[in-house]
Symmetry: C2
Subunit: 157 residues, 2 copies
DNA sequence: TAATTTGTAACAACTTATATTACATTTATG
DNA sequence: CATAAATGTAATATAAGTTGTTACAAATTA
């Protein structure tokens, strides 16, 4: 080996995950919930019933509904005849908004945590990846911003 | 509940993951490997040395190098003074090509496996999500196609 | 022949996602 | 007022996926 600038630096086992990720069904779950709510304006839909449509556990639905409440999109009501209802017109919610609610990772994946600072590539690669990941994220965001929940819901007529 | 079209269908525990995903560092790892190779044309770089720059285990590097060999981009040589070398000019490899090598999931995540076919939303939502996911994927692909490995490598001068 | 490197399998450790159980709290209604 | 039905939430279990690690055969150079 003649390029020795990476010497005196060896990997260890302290490589941790960099960030949360998109390895989940949350986008699919949340847009499904919102679609059902949007199709039944003024009605209290129960988490059990919603869960039956998505085919997942009702507790997961209630967790997502909690996040949608915080976001100001949904009101829930406890007790008999309780449930959840959409508070915002579906043309006021874009798919970019939904993406932001569930997004917690980069489109192209995660970065390695500790590239070698003594290597010209390792030293700067995470900055370059940050820049690339951000560009891709903005591309998706701009496109999803053109699509509203109402557009999505209309497809099920 | 007055919308009963989802009755007689309850979730069970057979919900499996839909596909592999992007919950990993493979894009970052592979572009790091290719960048190092591109910066040392005609030299045999060992997996240990490459791993030292990325700060990961050399076995992971060798696994990725195997995939890059299959793709026709890299030649490796066993034995003393062995290593790996880039076979293709770096302006002939686009970031879209690299994305394809490591991609095995949708940008917006996974779909729920078994939405309720008795519900108008559940029945069609995976088709609609497929369509949306594909559109987002093409958007990213088109953008990454404009960027070559050479462009990326130049950033480290 | 010795040293070095790839190729690869097998397994371990760690992380995350989702499901499940349980129960307190709230609310409508007979 | 009692009952039924629903949310909110914590705690735990199950399952899957990612990365690290160990080990060693095979290849190659000097």
């Amino acid at each position: 080996m003649n390029n020795l600038y990476c010497n005196n630096f060896y990997y260890n086992k302290d490589v941790l995950t960099f960030a949360f990720d998109m390895n989940n069904t949350r986008f699919a779950t949340v847009i499904h919930i919102l679609t059902l709510l949007a199709r039944s304006p003024g009605q209290w839909l129960s988490s059990d019933w919603i869960a039956g449509s998505i085919h997942i556990n009702p507790v997961i639905v209630r967790k997502e509904l909690g996040i949608l409440q915080e976001r100001g999109w949904v009101t829930s009501r406890k007790g008999k005849e309780g449930g959840s209802m959409l508070d915002v017109p579906s043309d006021q919610i874009t798919l970019a908004d939904i993406y932001q609610v569930v997004k917690n990772a980069n489109i192209l994946g995660k970065k390695n945590l500790d590239p070698n600072p003594k290597c010209p590539v390792g030293k700067d690669i995470n900055d370059e990846l940050d820049s690339l990941f951000l560009e891709m994220d903005r591309l998706i965001g701009t496109s999803l911003q053109q699509k509203t929940l109402q557009d999505f819901v209309k497809q099920f007529d």
